[in-house]
């Protein structure tokens, strides 16, 4: 292991004691008023709004805001994600999902607020924070003129790996994402599904404790969607995962926790079951529509 990564390993070791958390729901949302803490879950009341050091909390977003000129894209979003959580970030198009993810991953600087990844503040320690994150951006951008292996070798180099470890990491990522058949092909010649998988491979290459994926199944066929969801579920136990989506079935399929946002604010959060229970019909899409349709009109 290189120096940087062994440092991450040490941090990990320190956290291990915190990871023995009770099962149930892990990510604790702080949100403006829609639900009272009591409604959320039995555990939430105890930790509501309180940062109990960052023990167990892998990702914490603190009242993050972003304006583009006069447009307020994100108006103060806070949530926490713990190990083992798959947080579904739900919302209509333009709700601020991608902007929030871009701020957490360091692509955009927040106008106000911040986030921390395993205790590393994204503004004060951006490199440390970025080392802990695997990120699959929207539309899975990849260097089209590189081969799959060339691209992954590049990302591994950027992640600080060298020599045999770099080769091993790349091979493991290729295998994990079923890219063996196309590994020597130029990425530009691949289908969308493969390109998505290549980008997925670069996100999990360094086995990051925090994985952030912006619409990971967008534009994939049903088989590919199934494959991606299985991969997410497989990895979920050891990580904190945030996925954004507007596909509600996905939330039920993979998420342990969901946050519905609209117009840059958190509208509701809870486990998928809790959210469903808010509608008489028990359907998530109905809850989603009720919460966000007013927002769309605004």
């Amino acid at each position: 292991m290189t120096q940087k990564n062994s440092r991450a390993g040490l941090v990990f070791h320190g956290f291990r004691s915190f990871f023995r958390m009770p099962e149930g729901w892990h990510a604790i949302c702080i949100y403006p008023g829609q639900l009272t803490p009591d409604e959320k879950s039995p555990r939430a009341g105890a930790t509501d709004g309180v940062i109990d050091s960052y023990g167990g909390i892998m990702l914490e977003v603190k009242d993050i805001k972003k304006s583009f000129g006069d447009i307020e894209a994100v108006r103060g979003i806070s949530f926490k994600v713990e190990k083992g959580d798959v947080l579904g970030f739900l919302g209509p198009n333009g709700a601020g999902k991608s902007t929030t993810m871009r701020m957490i991953t360091g692509f955009l600087i927040p106008t106000a607020g911040t986030a921390s990844v395993l205790g590393h503040d994204i503004l004060d320690q951006p490199l440390e924070a970025k080392r802990q994150i695997g990120y699959l951006p929207e539309n899975a951008p990849v260097y089209a003129d590189m081969t799959v292996t060339g691209f992954l070798v590049f990302v591994a180099g950027m992640r600080g790996y060298s020599g045999k470890e770099k080769t091993d990491r790349v091979n493991a990522a290729v295998e994990r994402c079923n890219l063996g058949r196309v590994r020597h092909q130029t990425i530009g010649t691949l289908s969308k599904g493969f390109r998505q998988r290549v980008c997925f491979a670069q996100a999990v290459l360094h086995d990051p404790p925090v994985l952030i994926m912006d619409e990971p199944t967008d534009g994939l066929d049903p088989n590919q969607k199934f494959a991606v969801r299985s991969m997410i579920r497989e990895m979920a136990a050891g990580k904190a995962i945030v996925i954004s989506t507007h596909i509600l079935e996905e939330v039920e399929a993979v998420c342990t926790k969901a946050v519905i946002i609209g117009d840059g604010r958190i509208l509701a959060c809870g486990t998928p079951a809790e959210l469903k229970a808010r509608s008489p019909s028990g359907r998530l899409d109905e809850v989603f529509r009720t919460l966000t349709s007013g927002q769309n009109a605004a």
């Binding site: 692509f107 955009l108 600087i109 490199l127 970025k130 951008p141 590189m146």
Partner: protein, 244 residues
């Protein structure tokens, strides 16, 4: 450091992974050869000197360096890979420097490939080796200065054509700033300090003095400050985009 190396290698390789590098090298070498041998008529001058070759270099770079730099950042922005790059654990300064140095290394390679001209000169007579070395040094520094301008224009837009045209115009300004027709035009109305100030921006006096074999610290300071200021501007432009 490994991060820097990885990015540097990728950037350099990316020139050769597309036809860009080959088209660039062929056009550069043909154009340099044509201008040296057919326009300046090197053979007919009866002198074993590379002066006719170096004379054209600033003009050849004017076209080709913006072509080499136009995709540096705009392509990343257009294809969305900028998001990937900037979310990897690398600082903005490292990315800018790695990309710049990779492109510069590519240009140095292109300049090195003009060595047959040097061989030809040695076949014709006994040229002054010192001025050849310093002339090439001048070329490399000039290419670096133009390239830094290209880095800024490329960071400013996602459109490669705009990047190319704007960087060509800025480089043309740097080239012509001290040229008598430009100075005379300014003398008519501008105060003296402005005329001198504009003329001081010119790359030409610095290029010519190095080419004559005079290694003056001021010329190096000039080139490296152009590069420094331009790369710093590129940093500002890209950082500004992050917090826009």
């Amino acid at each position: 450091m490994s991060t820097f190396n990885a990015l540097f290698k990728r950037e350099l390789k990316s020139y050769f992974e597309s036809p860009v590098a080959y088209v660039f090298l062929v056009v550069f070498l043909l154009l340099s050869g044509f201008l040296t041998f057919f326009v300046s008529r090197l053979y007919e001058q009866g002198q074993a000197t590379l002066e006719p070759f170096f004379f054209w270099q600033p003009w050849v770079y004017l076209l080709l360096v913006p072509a080499a730099s136009m995709r540096m950042w705009s392509d990343e922005r257009r294809s969305g890979t900028l998001e990937l790059l900037l979310t990897l654990p690398v600082t903005m300064a490292q990315s800018i420097l790695a990309k710049f140095l990779a492109a510069w290394a590519f240009l140095v390679l292109a300049i090195a490939l003009t060595c047959p001209v040097v061989v030809t000169i040695y076949g014709l007579g006994q040229p002054d080796a010192g001025t050849i070395v310093s002339g090439y040094l001048g070329c490399i520094l000039l290419a670096g200065a133009y390239l830094a301008v290209g880095a800024v224009t490329s960071a400013m837009t996602r459109n490669q054509v705009i990047s190319f045209v704007v960087s060509l115009v800025v480089c043309l300004f740097l080239l012509m700033a001290g040229w008598p027709p430009v100075t005379e035009m300014l003398v008519q109305w501008a105060p003296n300090w402005l005329v001198n100030g504009v003329a001081a921006f010119s790359v030409m006096p610095h290029f010519e003095s190095i080419q004559r074999g005079v290694l003056d610290l001021r010329d190096f300071v000039y080139y490296f400050s152009v590069m420094g200021v331009m790369l710093f501007t590129a940093h500002l432009v890209l950082e500004n985009r992050k917090s826009a």
